[in-house]
């Protein structure tokens, strides 16, 4: 069994209106050193080991979790040993 931690972020160059609004709030709190904020998504999956986990997770990200037109993704794996 694996825990899969997937991070989906907007591609460079794609405007992020939410990130910009959050950055403005930071500035209104006087955190003026924050030069940019980009909002992304985070997923935790628990996945059975079928021997081809990278292939399957990449497929899932390409087909559903991320939209390749505007987003990119990365993930990390952690093997879970049942008690």
């Amino acid at each position: 069994m694996y825990k899969v931690y997937v991070y989906v972020t907007l591609k460079e160059g794609v405007l992020d209106p939410q990130g910009k609004a959050i950055q403005e709030s930071m500035h209104s709190l006087a955190y003026d050193e924050v030069e940019s904020v980009r909002v992304g998504k985070y997923f935790e999956l628990t996945v059975k080991d079928t021997g081809e986990i990278d292939k399957r997770v990449n497929e899932l990200c390409d087909r559903l979790l991320a939209n390749p037109v505007i987003e990119e993704y990365r993930y990390t794996l952690e093997e879970v040993v049942p008690n």
């Binding site: 405007l15 979790l65 037109v69």
Partner: protein, 227 residues
């Protein structure tokens, strides 16, 4: 002519679409579940607005992997007319039937108002009863209608005359004011404004009617009418 209105969990403009076709166009129309796997009985497929599957992941993303989408792709390949409005447009983008993607509106607010939309190309199945350059009054109602595509995709859209509608006063930040695009073949249209909510004077505008009438006229032009 027989229309299908695809109903996803969370669609909420399905009844308006159905009513536009039956009451105002007086054509055959049926509601079809998003679990359907065969749409070969229909001459046109309409994807209505709403919040399919709650739009929890991205607008239209979960709907784009529903069983019916494979059938929609099969019909698109055959040349069947397919129209996605609002969430229907988002689903067509997520399904890869149209290029580009949607981002949250530039000002982050959900926008619900009547807006001015320009007919940028009237030489299509969906728009040929309009005058080129005509300005239409159509309702918009969306939180993620900020159309995005990269520069090379935009060039291809222009080169193949795929931009059918543009906003007069861009409300949401869409690149190049884009409000509606079709595929290269010209049988699949996605648009954010709602033509089905502008089909009689009582609703404030009848400017959406000619879109559906264009579809019917073009279908009749290529099919023998049953008597």
């Amino acid at each position: 002519m027989k229309f299908a209105v695809i109903v996803f969990p969370g669609s909420n403009c399905d009844q308006d679409m159905f009513d536009a076709i039956r009451t105002h166009l007086k054509e055959d129309v049926e509601m079809v579940s998003s679990a359907a796997t065969d749409l070969s009985a229909y001459d046109a497929i309409l994807l209505p607005g709403g919040f399919s599957h709650g739009d929890y992941l991205r607008s239209g993303a979960m709907a784009s992997v529903a069983p019916v989408v494979r059938a929609i792709k099969e019909e698109a390949d055959k040349g069947t007319f397919i129209l996605g409005v609002c969430n229907g447009f988002q689903i067509l983008l997520e399904a890869g039937l149209l290029p580009g993607a949607m981002l949250p509106n530039r000002d982050l607010a959900f926008i619900c108002k009547t807006d001015l939309v320009c007919v940028a190309n009237n030489n299509t199945t969906f728009t040929n009863l309009y005058e080129e350059g005509a300005t239409l009054k159509l309702p918009i109602a969306h939180g993620e209608g900020n159309y995005y595509c990269d520069e090379s995709t935009y060039r291809r859209l222009v080169d193949h005359h795929q931009i059918l509608f543009t906003y007069e006063n861009n409300p949401n930040g869409s690149v190049y004011d884009i409000a509606g695009i079709c595929n290269e073949r010209g049988n699949v249209l996605g648009m954010m404004p709602h033509p089905e909510r502008a089909v009689e004077a009582l609703l404030g505008s009848e400017d959406g009617l000619k879109l559906f009438q264009s579809m019917v006229a073009n279908w009749r032009g290529t099919h023998v009418q049953h008597t």
